[in-house]
Symmetry: C2
Subunit: 388 residues, 2 copies
């Protein structure tokens, strides 16, 4: 039990923090302030679903040299005490008079000189998980110290996964793959879409997921209207394309891939769209290399879809994956991130099948020096026909 | 399917927005800016697990008069289009050049005059779900308009639940109660705590939960070390007190209560602690009335625990409940919130059983004009002995 909350050996965290500190040095940061579940899990191994409660802010300070310091509500002291951190400071939260701000001022002041700079993730795909009024008080009390955006620093380190992380992501992808294998057992004509969502979560748990943070999907003739809705009281009908998309979690690591099925016999439209999505994915898997830009991958997927007669949908066509369901970079025309070996990515081409209907296909991979390596079990080339 | 994303009839949302607008008027706010899953669900009925992706910010603007306006990523247009909102503006997110900021500036400027005030939840139990750099750009571009803290305004409205909301919370409490009834079927000597956590989630889904956002707990002789840890590879042993705490979700509404069991025969310490927790809850249930302060309830629970020979644990001993696992107010000595009829609350007394061990008991209630009404099925007075 004492080892569990660490997830990894301490050296893994030391390596992460050393990489962060190298980036901090280059940017002239005296400390990094982390407030989100992901950044705190990444640096400490502190994993809890208690983040679901918005009541209390939590802080980890990474100084330019030395180990991180936790400044957290006392309810987390026991669990944080099982991580590799040794300097854990607590306050009795929630405290409406001062919810950790004085403790954090003191902690930051120890490692940041009066004219020093404190890095904080402030850019794309970040947020500050503490009350805005608390942050403004913190900033005023620490002046003339300045807060500067450290998104690039964090992102550069988190984007490239260690072998230990890749092993975890492969494990949860395998669990989700087994859960998707069970779909023909429970998705059928006449069943509710909501029941299908429930049964997929049950299957993922039964296969070994710790929890299931994300399920979305849709069903309809020739495709579905969107990909983020919860399941309504819709009844599955013969000819429906059923898409299920899942973010299951094991030891804090996510998978994020979907599977398409047809209830009964696929329409030509659905069959052609699935084939184009599958082939666009296949061709991109073959071509993926470090050094390409995220925007190149977007173009590759679109070009390939068009070559196979499909109309690409808008939005991003894949993204980073790891301790969050979605991470940097994004496969869009606007993201010029250079891909590096060790990045874990989703390929998520989508196409418009007819007015108001789309189909989306998704796989998870790790990028190696010589190309893509599958983490999700590859979807079948032909749209599976099930459940009549 | 088209009605589902609304959860409630449109009038429910109109009433909520009217109550918010009354508060805004009293505070001199020209608009309210909402960014979190909870505040956006509350005002619009927009429910999706896609919030799990941190990539995109989402905005809803509540003007002082008229209906709310959504300014959201285009991926959400279809789902938001099924809510009661009619003014839905979108941008193609993620856009690293301008992730909705220009659209939001334009939207806010329509309802806020140049010297007007924009309310934003900035206080306890809130955060701003958008990049801090985006907020700072927004603030600069909207000047001389000012952002002011609107936590009290939102909180005052959200704290008191409508009958429709109470019905939803009762429903999910009932589902969780049925799931807890199954614990003796799967928790037993020799099983892993992690398996027990999985089986409880499976049971909640099988009983009708849409998803399970929170499970925590612990097991040990005479109690457990903390109440927020995920399950480790710990094997349940004869004599262990097993506590399982769950936040299941149905139609966007949470339950949050726990149950204690003993594997085999309870120690005198565990039995006495459970009895004190049960009686302190019973006495507080009897005494709870609108007009009491949150701090009074904390004192009531502590006094009652002590009267029954138990040592109260630190931290808060209950809280609000609804569209989040935990909401305002908090039963602590520092929270002077006056309780009102219609508040849905947890009573969560905890006691120290011996060095480093605690036990916690939790129930969910709605406060009526004449007192507490149970929403969770009342825990048995005697600690259930199971699983040998």
């Amino acid at each position: 039990m004492t080892e569990r909350s660490l997830i990894f050996p301490t050296q893994e965290y030391r390596d992460r923090v050393a990489r962060l500190q190298a980036g901090m040095g280059a940017q002239g940061l005296a400390a990094l302030l982390l407030t989100t579940p992901d950044d705190i899990f990444y640096t400490t191994g502190f994993l809890t679903r208690f983040w679901e409660s918005p009541t209390r802010p939590w802080f980890v300070v990474v100084p330019l040299t030395g180990d991180p310091v936790a400044a957290i509500p006392s309810i987390g002291a026991e669990l944080m005490g099982r991580t590799w951190l040794h300097d854990i400071r607590t306050w009795d939260a929630p405290d409406p008079r001062d919810d950790g701000i004085s403790l954090l001022v003191e902690t930051l002041a120890e490692s940041v000189p009066p004219h020093g700079r404190i890095g904080l993730p402030m850019g794309p795909e970040t947020y500050l998980r503490m009350p805005q009024a608390g942050f403004e008080a913190l900033r005023a009390r620490l002046a003339p110290r300045r807060f500067v955006d450290a998104t690039a620093c964090i992102r550069h380190v988190r984007e490239v996964k260690s072998d230990a992380e890749i092993t975890k992501i492969r494990e949860v992808c395998t669990i989700a793959g087994h859960a998707f294998d069970r779909v023909p057992d429970f998705a059928a004509k006449g069943r509710l879409l909501a029941e299908t969502f429930r049964d997929l979560q049950i299957a993922a748990l039964a296969e070994g997921a710790d929890w299931v943070s994300y399920v979305a999907g849709g069903a309809g003739l020739d495709g579905y209207g969107d990909v983020i809705s919860p399941a309504g009281p819709q009844v599955l009908k013969r000819g429906d394309v059923l898409m299920l998309d899942m973010g299951a979690v094991k030891d804090g690591y996510f998978c994020d891939f979907d599977r398409n099925f047809v209830i009964g016999v696929a329409s030509d439209t659905a069959r052609r769209a699935h084939s184009a999505l599958w082939r666009a994915t296949e061709e991109t898997l073959d071509a993926l290399r470090p050094g390409l830009r995220a925007s190149d991958v977007h173009k590759m997927l679109c070009d390939s879809l068009q070559k196979h007669g499909a109309v690409p949908s808008g939005g991003r066509l894949g993204h980073g994956l790891g301790i969050a369901l979605t991470e940097w970079p994004s496969f869009t025309p606007l993201d010029d991130t250079v891909l590096r070996a060790g990045m874990v990515l989703t390929l998520e081409p989508g196409c418009i099948t007819r007015d108001g209907r789309i189909m989306v296909h998704e796989e998870n991979i790790v990028l190696r020096a010589d190309g893509a390596e599958m983490l999700s079990p590859r979807a079948p080339e032909d749209l599976p026909e099930i459940g009549t």
